[in-house]
Symmetry: C2
Subunit: 241 residues, 2 copies
């Protein structure tokens, strides 16, 4: 069984090499701009060989997206393990998303791209990806439920719907098109400000305002500033219009 084992390992290795090569290219160029030929050249294999390991370009791309989703899901899980009021956990998950977007901007881009209906959801990874995202959402919903129970979150909110709203908002805020980032800067805000002020904006939609989180959130610091201080946009330039 030793030889078959090694063959198995080597096959796995090849697979990983292909994914790594593809990832490098997809990280540096757009999906359409990366040809299977390019990936083949990058791993130093023939294009047809790649097709022995992956059904098609989409499937190969999906495995990379899956890597990203798994990292995100881990971050979410970590938030849930700590002991804290529900409201605080929700905020922390938002921050986890934010950190993910800072640490892995390329994965985020790919995840977002994969989302916009263009890929058939036939491949086995699609289900995995969906599950990963579902996990994140479910964890968020659990935190909301906890918050409702401990009185830090509005009791009139439905945990499921609210988790959807928050996921979608996070997603939208953090995978902003470049075009809009320019608009933000033209208005005199940094992207960090834009993202962090969002929390101050959205908190009243979730929180009961019991103050349970007012103190605790202080030491979290998103991009260096507390979440509960006065809502001070602190525009940097704003000399236009």
């Amino acid at each position: 069984m030793g030889i078959a084992d090694r063959r198995q390992r080597e096959k796995e290795q090849r697979r990983t090499e292909i994914i790594d090569a593809a990832e490098r290219l997809f990280f540096s160029r757009s999906y359409e701009d990366v040809a299977m030929e390019d990936i083949a050249r990058e791993v130093e294999l023939n294009k047809a060989t790649i097709y022995l390991y992956f059904k098609n370009k989409e499937t190969l791309f999906a495995t990379i997206v899956l890597r990203g989703v798994r990292i995100l899901a881990e971050k979410y899980t970590a938030c849930m393990e700590k002991q804290a009021p529900g409201m605080l956990k929700v905020v922390q998950m938002g921050q986890a998303y934010y950190r993910f977007s800072q640490e892995y901007p390329d994965y985020l881009r790919l995840i977002h791209f994969y989302g916009s209906e263009r890929f058939s959801r036939e491949n086995p990874y699609a289900a995995e990806i969906g599950k990963g995202y579902g996990t994140c959402r479910r964890i968020l919903a659990d935190a909301i439920r906890e918050g409702i129970d401990d009185g830090t979150i509005r009791a009139d909110l439905d945990p499921f719907l609210t988790s959807m709203y928050l996921m979608i908002s996070f997603m939208g805020i953090l995978s902003l098109e470049n075009r809009w980032k320019l608009v933000i800067e033209a208005e005199g805000f940094s992207y960090e400000q834009f993202a962090s002020e969002f929390f101050r904006f959205i908190i009243p939609a979730i929180s009961t305002g019991e103050g349970a989180c007012d103190v605790d959130v202080e030491d979290l610091e998103l991009s260096g500033r507390s979440l509960t201080g006065p809502f001070a946009p602190e525009k940097e330039k704003k000399q236009q219009s």
Copy 2:
């Protein structure tokens, strides 16, 4: 000048015919699934002829997206003309977006698709589209400013940032991927519920709670239910998990 005029009109007509044909196809199939040949067949012209009127496939697609954006911008403008408290105007704009998504789901889909960075922003229509979207956002920001002045909207909000947050959230909620719609239904909610409950969720993030809108909003009715009644999800099935 009469003849040159007619030539001009005829050219314009041709152009419109091409756009109409392309629209029919893009509405019924995905971008990639529509070949220039298909569009040519649909207008009963040779493919090369289309290239006399449009630089490339992207540009042709962009003109259709522009049609959609213009309709949306009109809807937003209409909201601003009525006399109402700022908070109410903001809600109405959200509803305008919702109605747009119901009346023109195909335009919405195309707009959303055009958004996901894959199109170069070189063509002249890209600028127009950006301007259209910018108009919507600016109108929303104006309404927020009015709301701050008349005391119906939190004074600690920055109008620009808030308008961005709302636009992005609306966008996310209303151009939801099909995959997520299935999740919503699996949880026992209709898509209409999902969209309308979002307003009840988000209002506390914007409103001062002065009640100025509590009464007025009553007669707006989004999908048949008032916006200020108790937050009652009224799940339809919810038999699982």
